[in-house]
């Protein structure tokens, strides 16, 4: 088992009243799954994804990731944990504008303190695999949205994560670009056994997954 959420609650206090963002979420994810989280705006999809990705905290409940209790870990260990095992893909790509494609790919490796020669090899591999070798010296703003997201996925993958978290990865893309990214996810899941959890609005994209979780007002339905 990759991760397990037990009775997760998250709320904000608003004028003496608790507004629940997540309410009693229970979830088990096995390695190799491809899960789609769906639901209307404000239902807590992104919050759930951020909690899983340890970017956000929760107020109650337990979260085990690879048999580590995330809820009792200190910030520093938590960041070591997700640095090691989790890759993020964002709706608006979130590449560093000041760095070239190649340097953007290298960034996570730097934070993992990987040696220079190895870094070079890994980056070259990734560029090759995503057929973006010709674009390695370009800056993100010089690329189309689809290409940027391709780099985003490559960056998420380069640290060899067990889990990829994608928050509406195709939200800013046209249908053809969407199709390509989803095919890529499917391939990664099938051929390399990477676990993927994606948040999406589109039924069509959700269908790529092996399991769909529906949220409404912070609750699983």
């Amino acid at each position: 088992m990759l991760l397990q959420l037990r009775n997760i609650f998250k709320w904000v206090q608003l004028g003496g009243q608790r507004i629940f963002l997540l309410k009693d979420i229970n979830l088990e994810v096995q390695e190799g799954e491809f899960i789609s989280i769906m639901g209307p705006s404000g239902s807590g999809k992104s919050t759930l994804l951020n909690v899983i990705g340890m970017l956000d905290t929760f107020d109650e409940g337990e979260y085990d990731f690879l048999n580590e209790s995330v809820h009792s870990l200190k910030e520093k260990y938590r960041s070591n944990l997700y640095k090691e095992y989790i890759g993020f893909v964002f709706q608006s790509y979130h590449l560093l504008d000041d760095l070239t494609v190649e340097e953007n790919l290298e960034m996570p490796l730097l934070y993992k303190k990987i040696k220079s020669s190895e870094r070079k090899a890994l980056v070259a591999d990734m560029l090759d695999r995503f057929s973006i070798v010709g674009k390695k010296d370009l800056f993100p703003t010089q690329l189309s949205g689809g290409q940027q997201q391709l780099v985003g996925v490559a960056r998420a993958l380069i640290g060899k994560p067990k889990l990829i978290l994608a928050d509406e990865p195709t939200g800013n893309l046209n249908s053809q670009q969407s199709e390509e990214i989803m095919q890529l996810f499917k391939k990664l899941n099938k051929e390399e056994g990477v676990t993927i959890i994606q948040v999406t609005h589109s039924e069509k994209n959700a269908a790529y997954g092996s399991r769909i979780i529906n949220l409404l007002d912070g609750r699983k339905i």
Binding site: Y82, L96, Y111, G159
Partner: protein, 799 residues
């Protein structure tokens, strides 16, 4: 990793050129100012460090009290030498008598030059450790020997070997050049000593000095000492203070206090008030040190402000970095590295600025500062300075930026809270407080200088020259020369005097007069003049009459100034007598024939001293004062005068000074301070404005959407401008409220040092406030109007 940070920092600098210019430019400017001030301070502190025995050298000083007022100075009487040698000799390694540093004519063959120098006892050479380049180490052994500084020897002898040559001093004494010593550097009190002659010769030449051997009241000499090992200044000062009082009864009434004034304090702490040491130039060292620190602070504030202002732009980067695994410490490290790189870059620019401006600065400050390329300490301090500045400037943005939560910034819901701008506002307030205080300070310094400059001097200093006549050759030739000069057409009136127009060289007491209060110890400025003195200077006679050649009795007449009239307590001074109170062998009494208007001879910031102008019966004056013919050009006049002079005194170099120039010298120090603080104020304001400019552009950027919405809803350009400017104006007004009392307090304290001073007026403060507000509006408006004129469709579409 560091390479990566470097890359990002560099690209950031290149991408935001305007920001880089403001940030690096502002910081570099601030650093350049601080560097220059640092070099200036270093130069000031290095004064009087040339002699190797500097730590144990001192000059003998004396404080005396006249009518309750204590004056302190280096002039001491000759018998004090014996008193100290006999009673306290063990405490000194050396003790030497020395003359004042006076100009003398030095002549060799056709060459005739005028140079300043001293007579001193021979131990002085060893005591000061003069560096003998040629000739005898013990060069003052023979009474007719003279030691020359290297540059003086060069000027006289050129390529000839000077040792053993005979030169003529003051056109009468044949002296044998015994040694040549290295020039004493500019930043030394003995810089002017271009030659040294044995003290014995001084005695042999002058009867009055020989007679002074047992005159305790004749304070006309200098004495320098070197302490013996294991003797401290404190210890010896407590033992010798009453030496003169104990040895001489006549002068005991003035309570003479003798003490040693250490050489290391001469330059920076040389002021005395009522017998107490009260600092001196050291206050300017502090003043400029504080200015330097503040200017650097301003520049750092800019850096911090602009960096945090940009934080929203970089917030996304922080979010991304954190989500791919960066820890907070790494981000802090990254931002500090960036700050270090910018600071280093700014430092390089600052050094260029310093190199470009050093010449101008030297001219302004009358220094000869060179850039210390080879000085390890300088570079060490610079490195510390860079590290310190990057820490100071970078720590706030580093801590602030790295604290962002990735979810917040990435979701785009990140907004700086209501008070996120507060530190930034405080920083702007600090900046403008300093700037406004600087403006007020500079205006007041300038005002004080102008106030003193516009003070009536009591005579007409334009078109007046003085020619030194320090030689026996001039004695008895005044009447002849007067006829010659007047006849030449270049001079319309001339006179002689025993001291220059702009100085007092002699003071006397020991008189009685009708109505003199019991026990009154008078002290009168004493100038011996020829009868045409008042006429040649255009001094106004307010009572009685001027000297006249028609009355033979005028040779025992005297003119007094208005202050002296009050000082002597005379209702109707004309006709009264000043009698010598020496009962055994009195000089004939002097009859007051007139009262002249006060004339500023000393500091223009001090009240005029009570003075008397006595008929010079011996025709033994030090200066010719000549009123030039206004109908001819000055050059023409000078040439004519020089020709007449050369005709009669072919062996004496012709020298002259314009009196207004000499008078202007009195303001030189204050004017330098004024100009420098003016320059630094301008730079401080410039730096503050650069910061404000940058800050406004970011605020405008930040509120772009808001401005767009407002415009769509019908806001005019004026509305938007008003909205953006108001915030900053408020801050500047707060700054003014803080700066005004501080500036008032400090400047009022500064002015207290000048008895003759400008009164602080409220409008000075008003001008500073209005000026600061005007500059703020100008700076802010540029950006505000640009933002207000932008097409709202564009700014709204970017969302």
């Amino acid at each position: 990793m560091f390479k990566n940070y470097l890359k990002i920092a560099w690209r950031n600098l290149l991408k935001n050129k305007g920001y880089t210019f403001i940030n690096v430019g502002g910081l570099a400017l601030g650093m350049a100012v601080t560097l220059i001030i640092g070099l200036w301070i270093q130069d000031e502190l290095s004064y009087n460090r040339y002699f190797k025995n500097k730590d144990s050298l001192a000059q003998v000083f004396q404080s005396q009290t006249f009518n309750g007022e204590t004056g302190t100075g280096p002039a001491i009487p000759r018998p004090l030498e014996k008193g100290l040698r006999d009673g306290y000799g063990d405490n000194f390694k050396h003790l030497i008598m020395c003359s004042w540093t006076n100009d003398h004519y030095l002549k060799y063959g056709e060459k005739n030059i005028s140079r300043p120098g001293n007579y001193m006892q021979k131990a002085g050479i060893e005591m000061f450790g003069l560096n003998i380049i040629k000739g005898e180490k013990d060069g003052l052994r023979e009474i007719n020997s003279i030691m020359l500084s290297e540059s003086t020897a060069d000027a006289l002898f050129g390529n000839e070997d000077p040792i053993g040559k005979i030169i003529t001093v003051s056109n009468e004494h044949k002296m044998n050049v015994s040694a040549v010593y290295s020039d004493i550097p500019v930043n030394n009190s003995f810089n002017d000593t271009d030659f040294v002659i044995p003290w014995k010769k001084y005695l042999a030449n002058n009867e009055w000095i020989r007679n002074a051997e047992d005159q305790w009241g004749n304070n006309s000499f200098q004495m320098f000492v070197q302490l013996a090992d294991n003797v401290t200044f404190d210890k010896i000062n407590s033992t010798i203070k009453n030496v003169k009082k104990n040895l001489n009864e006549d002068t005991a009434q003035f309570n003479p206090q003798i003490f040693l004034f250490p050489m290391e304090e001469w330059y920076l702490r040389g002021n005395f008030e009522n017998g107490k040491q009260v600092g001196g130039r050291i206050k300017y060292v502090w003043l400029f040190g504080i200015i330097g620190a503040f200017v650097l602070l301003l520049a750092c504030i800019n850096f911090m402000n602009l960096s945090t202002a940009r934080s929203e732009k970089r917030g996304k980067e922080v979010g991304i970095r954190k989500s791919i695994g960066s820890q907070r410490g790494q981000l802090i490290y990254q931002f500090l590295s960036e700050s270090f790189i910018v600071v280093l870059f700014a430092f390089i620019v600052a050094i260029l600025l310093v190199l470009l401006s050093l010449n101008g600065f030297n001219e302004l400050s009358k220094k000869e500062i060179v850039f210390p390329w080879g000085n390890g300490v300088f570079w060490g301090v610079s490195l510390l300075f860079i590290l310190f500045t990057s820490l100071l400037a970078g720590s706030y943005p580093a801590l602030y930026l790295s604290s962002f939560k990735p979810v917040d910034v990435l979701k785009g819901t990140f907004k700086t809270g209501k008070y996120a701008g507060l530190p930034r506002k405080i920083l702007v307030v600090v900046q403008f407080t300093v700037s406004v205080a600087f403006i007020i300070g500079t205006v007041i310094v300038m005002q004080q200088i102008n106030f003193a400059k516009n003070r009536p001097v009591g005579y007409d200093k334009e078109g007046l020259i003085q020619v030194p006549t320090f030689s026996q050759d001039f004695v008895g030739k005044y009447d002849l020369m007067r006829t010659e000069f007047l006849g030449s057409g270049a001079v319309i009136e001339m006179s002689t005097s025993s001291s220059p127009t702009t100085q007092i060289w002699s003071n006397r007491g020991g008189f009685t007069w009708e109505g003199k209060p019991e026990g009154f110890q008078e002290d009168l400025a004493w100038t011996e003049v020829s009868p045409e003195y008042a006429k040649s200077l255009n001094m106004k006679i307010v009572e009685g009459r001027d000297f006249s050649r028609d009355f033979a009795t005028d040779s025992l007449g005297v003119l007094i100034n208005e202050t002296a009239k009050k000082y002597l307590g005379m209702e109707n001074p004309v006709g009264q007598l000043l009698r010598d109170d020496n009962e055994e062998d009195p000089n004939p009494p002097l009859k007051i024939i007139g009262v002249v208007q006060d004339m500023i001879t000393q500091s223009p910031y001090e009240p005029v001293k009570q003075g008397v102008y006595v008929y010079d019966r011996n025709d033994n004056a030090s200066y010719y004062n000549m009123r030039l013919n206004p109908n001819q050009s000055a050059t023409q006049n000078i040439t004519t005068i020089q020709n007449v002079f050369k005709e009669h005194f072919p062996d004496i170099p012709f020298e002259y000074d314009f009196v207004d120039g000499e008078y202007g010298e009195k303001f030189a120090s204050e004017e330098r301070i004024g100009t420098l603080s003016g320059v630094f104020t301008a730079l401080a304001i410039l730096i503050s404005c650069l910061g404000l400019f940058g800050l406004t552009s970011f605020v405008a950027e930040q509120r772009k959407k808001e401005i767009g919405v407002r415009k769509v809803l019908g806001a005019s350009i004026f509305n938007v401008w008003n909205m953006l400017s108001k915030d900053f104006l408020k801050l500047v007004i707060i700054s003014c409220f803080i700066a005004v009392p501080i500036a008032y307090f400090v400047m009022n304290g500064w002015l207290q040092e000048y008895p003759y001073r400008v009164i602080l007026k409220w409008w000075i403060f008003a001008i500073a406030i209005v000026g600061a507000m005007f500059v703020t509006l100008l700076t802010v408006s540029f950006q505000a109007i640009k933002a207000a004129k932008a097409n709202p469709v564009k700014s709204l579409r970017t969302e």
